[in-house]
Amino acid sequence: MKGYNFAYLDEQTKRMLRRTLLKAVAIPGHQIPFGAREMPLPYGWGTGGIQVTAAVLGRADTLKVIDQGADDTTNAVSIRRFFARTAGVATTTRTASATIIQTRHRIPETTLTEAQIIVYQVPQPEPLYQLEPSRTETRRMHALADYGAMHVRLYEQVARYGQIAISYDYPVMVNGRHLMAPSPIPAFDNPKMHRMRALQLFGAGREKRIYAVPPYTAVVSLDFEDHPFRASRAAHVCALCGDRASYLDEVVTDDRGGRMFICSDTDHCASRRESAP
């Protein structure tokens, strides 16, 4: 785009982001403060993910952007256009064709490969913030791996509901050391993070934090021996492609309780329909 650098950010800002990313990779799951810049998109709409993608992206990359698993949601369209405009990179909706996937709230159903990087948009990087609002204090808790309060919170849910009742942004332990917010993906997606082949990068623009999970790193959802973590989904079949295992959106079809269930991952669903006999 005329008047702007490749991928919008100036080179000094990219260097700052890149240095932060390298430290993030070296300390899996540890949040690193960075000098987040104002982006031309609003805070809370993916500015952290956008800055990470801008620091990583090159001319040869093929970018996929999803929001809620779909390529055609308006914010995904807007971010994809931003990079098509500022970096001139190829974009795709095909998970398998992408080298970089920026996502909000989902991990694709298609297993990611070593050749891919997934960038998560993160609204709240601090997994402890509901337990302890002071960042000075949560930083100390991470330093000491003092995560007892989180286990107590989960146990209180077990006592009250008979099970852990966190549906999304379900806290994970990374590399056996750092408690991490996986971003508001459904807990259904958590197991995909564990020992994923692709590099996982996380950007929180408003909160100015970057973190990462290298490939093949242990990412374990917190649970108890007698109340193991369960990845749940709606017990239905996709009405479009017939998948029985994918994560489903519930679509309201009338005001008399009519419902249908369809794949949240639009590329996954379309690919299945195309390859169906």
Partner: protein, 194 residues
């Protein structure tokens, strides 16, 4: 800048060479012990290897001071001209460039609260293969990975073990030879292979 240094340009394409070189370093640290090609400047000033030159040009600037150790000290004007980075003492440097493994204790390992406030050691070695075999395991490695760079001291595994014990504090290593880089982040365990 001395005339002999002036003759050695930086990146031919600063934006895209830096991006390609960063991706190489990112992959190197994300997949420890694997080798990645950078997009180096055409003719880096000796004794700087192309990969080490690319790493400096990609990551160092006025906000990230570098310490040029030993025979690299003479390159300070070239580094300052191309990156804007001032030479810093090892303990205060974000990056240390060396061709001999520094005593980790002289470098910044960060604190438990801010483990990222640590030195990245850019280590120029003769080659990234053909040396004594090391076995790596940890984040970025599916099971174990063999890695055999040349130019590491004989007691490297023991020194690394001491570094690993500091985790999440610690030093990260970027090894450079020719136009290739490999990474050893603080998170991994290293054993000597028999």
């Amino acid at each position: 800048m001395p005339a002999d240094l002036l003759a050695h340009p930086g990146f031919a394409d600063p934006v895209h060479d830096a991006q390609a070189s960063f991706r190489a370093v990112l992959q190197a640290l994300a997949r420890p012990g694997t080798l990645w090609r950078v997009a180096p400047p055409a003719d880096p000033p000796p004794p700087l290897a192309p990969a080490a030159a690319a790493v400096l040009l990609t990551l160092v600037d006025a906000d990230a001071p570098v310490h040029l150790a030993g025979r690299f000290a003479a390159l300070a004007p070239w580094v300052a001209f191309h990156t804007g980075s001032a030479n810093a003492e090892p303990g205060a440097a974000a990056f240390v460039l060396s061709d001999a493994l520094a005593d980790f204790a002289t470098l910044a390992a960060g604190t438990d609260e801010v483990p990222e406030a640590s030195t990245t050691l850019i280590l120029q070695v003769p080659a990234l293969d053909g040396g004594p075999k090391l076995t790596l395991r940890g984040p970025g490695i599916e099971t174990t990975r063999n890695f055999a760079p040349r130019g590491l001291p004989a007691d490297f595994a023991a020194r690394w073990a001491a570094n690993r014990r500091l985790y999440p504090r610690g030093i990260d290593l970027v090894l450079c030879a020719g136009s290739t880089v490999a990474g050893l982040p603080r998170s991994i365990f290293i054993a000597e292979s028999s």
